[in-house]
Amino acid sequence: MSHTETPSSLYGLMAEFETASELVHATERARLAGYRKMDAYSPIPIEELSEALDLPRTRLPKLVFAGGVIGGLAGFGLEAWASTIAYPMNIGGRPNLSWPQFIPVTFETTVLGAALAAFIGMWALNKLPQPYHPVFNVPEFERASTDRFFLCIESTDPLFEREGTAQFLKAFHPLGVNEVAP
């Protein structure tokens, strides 16, 4: 690790913690200190991290609602169009647009549309799949999916200073502070 590198050649600095509480604490303090471009990594979902990072409410529920509406309209529309315009046929004397009998299919396509929106929407908003990410350059990060907790302050943050930020992170007594290659 040479000190002639400029901060911009780093993705960021990553502190490794042993417990979830330490990570949440460090994240809260980092945000209070003014850091914004950072992310926390954990092997389990931690609700408190969303608060510590002050994450906005996700748009996902709106997308799912829209998916459900589109699915329902598509299902009902297909049935109505096929039975009244494409091929009207007298079935047991019922009207061509016998809508109560179209409800089961409408319900199923509503569910399908909503579920597809939840699935595709979540991965799209998370920008996954993503084959490469700088955090994987830190060998210790392997344990982020088992039992270690990481806080990464990114070099694009206006307050980021290679030495200063490292000192800041070390104050939380992490297991280690690593530089993350871009």
């Binding site: 509480s21 330490e22 979902p45 799912v64 039975s83 091929y87 939840a118 991965w123 084959p131 994987f136």
Partner: protein, 473 residues
């Protein structure tokens, strides 16, 4: 429950705590950490050594799967005449087995979705393999409607909303097309839910595997998951939404399956109790199958610290409740056959109870109404070998129920001159056994190559997951 235990601990009553522990076993054995949970589950997949018992079980399952292949080949070359169904029993093993398999799948969705919404912590250790069971059961179920067409490559005209060369569409007023929508939506949503749950675990396997191929395969399946708080935030929302969406879906699927019968005017089928009665029966048989799979799984892979007696007890209780609803359904059918005063209904019920297939009827009553009363006793709920046998019997009972509902209503219809007896052929049995082979083969492969328990969810129920913010104050 964990909270109750903590309260007891704080109030200082060690004796009370011990008593409570004895009454309600924990959802996870004490002493587990993130690492121990992850290691116990992931080593099944990452270990180079496959247990010899696995090969033994897989060999049997695979032999049955080959039987399915032979049966399908015979069916495609000869036609569905190789089956025993014929006028007046035009619908037999194909629909019996379809309903049986679809019903089994329902427990997986109940565990993964409905119990999540109800915050039932015990679902965490059984949801992954129960969801896998759902997918495999739906795959087995789909075989029957597809193959009963005789020419499955043309089934797209008959099953899917696609007009034929004359411009004619499938009949949207028919429950059979509702069924296509319900089952295909159910299969799709179950697969999405299952895959979503697998992604963080795939990341764990990617990080823990030593082999290059493993890194590539698990790396791709993990979609580059890195456990970012921003990702978890949306992930948890998506998981909750999928659970919320799946809940009405799973109730609708077996309701729609029951419409296949209830919308007709045949005595024995035309009953308003069918949707709730079918849904309860589905969950009942599904939990029996989860139990049938969980008991060997926890024994052979030493997972009894994760699938504890708490799970076994709870599953038994769910079976007891849903089984009693099913038993109420039988009583209700018999009552209305008498109370409605319709001669055809009455004749159908008398024929069910005393006719050619009466032994099957009394068999299903013996299992689904009487035998399940054993589940009231704690000594039975604690007896694992007995529970294994009982869970198999429940599935026999539920299969008999579908047989009775379908065949007794058809073989004695309104016109005595057309009455006949239905006997399945060897190909009927071969196909049924073949789908059991397909189911078990998929399940054996799943247990060997994918994490059978949801590692990331299991980590959240260990004591390590509890935040302790005071000491930073």
């Amino acid at each position: 429950m964990a909270d109750t235990r903590h309260e007891v601990q704080h109030s200082g009553g060690e004796a009370a705590l011990a008593a409570l522990r004895a009454r309600t076993p924990a959802v996870i054995a004490p002493g587990h950490t993130f690492e121990s949970v992850t290691e116990s589950v992931s080593h099944i997949v990452l270990s180079k050594r496959t247990p010899i018992g696995w090969f033994f079980g897989f060999a049997i399952a695979f032999a049955l799967l080959m039987l399915l292949n032979v049966t399908i080949a015979k069916l495609l070359f000869t036609g569905i005449g190789i089956w025993g169904n014929n006028v007046p029993v035009g619908w037999a093993f194909d629909i019996i087995n379809f309903v049986w398999w679809i019903g089994i799948g329902h427990a997986g969705t109940l565990i993964s979705a409905i119990l999540l919404l109800f915050r039932q912590q015990w679902r965490t250790s059984i949801n992954r393999f129960a969801e896998a069971m759902t997918l495999f059961a739906v795959a087995c179920a789909a075989m029957f409607p597809l193959l009963h067409t005789g020419r499955p490559w043309l089934a797209i005209y008959w099953l899917f909303p696609y007009p034929n060369t004359m411009g004619l569409w499938p009949q949207f007023r028919s429950p059979l097309i509702w069924d296509v929508f319900a089952v295909s939506t159910y299969g799709t949503v179950s697969a999405l839910f299952w895959f979503t749950g697998l992604v963080p675990d795939m990341a764990t396997l990617r990080d823990r595997t030593k082999s290059r191929a493993g890194k590539v395969i698990f790396g791709m399946l993990s979609l580059g998951w890195r456990g970012s708080a921003r990702h978890w935030h949306r992930y948890e929302m998506a998981y909750l939404l999928l659970a919320g969406i799946s809940t009405p879906l799973v109730l609708s699927v077996h309701s729609v399956v029951s419409f296949d019968f209830a919308v007709s005017v045949l005595p024995g089928w035309h009953a308003t109790i069918f949707p709730p009665y079918f849904v309860a029966g589905a969950i009942y048989s599904g939990f029996a199958m989860v139990m049938t799979l969980a008991i060997p799984l926890r024994k052979f892979y030493q997972l009894d610290g994760f699938i504890t007696m708490r799970h076994i007890h709870n599953m038994t209780k769910v079976m007891l409740v849903t089984g009693m609803i099913v038993a109420y359904g039988y009583a209700n059918e018999a009552f209305f056959a008498w109370y409605a005063g319709n001669v055809y209904e009455k004749a159908m019920m008398v024929n069910r109870m005393t006719g050619y297939y009466a032994p099957f009827y009394w068999g299903l009553i013996a299992i689904n109404a009487l035998m399940i009363q054993l589940f009231w006793f704690r000594s039975v709920r604690d007896n694992i070998p007995l529970l294994f046998v009982l869970s198999l019997l429940v599935n026999v009972g539920m299969w008999l129920e579908r047989f009775i509902i379908i065949v007794t209503s058809l073989h004695h219809d309104f016109l005595p001159s057309s009455w006949d007896v239905y006997t399945p052929t060897r190909w009927d049995f071969a196909m049924f056994a073949g789908t059991i082979g397909l189911f078990l083969s998929l399940f054996f492969l799943f247990v060997r190559f994918l994490p059978a328990l949801a590692m990331f969810e299991m980590r959240t129920i260990t004591p390590e997951a509890k935040l302790n913010m005071e000491h930073h104050g």
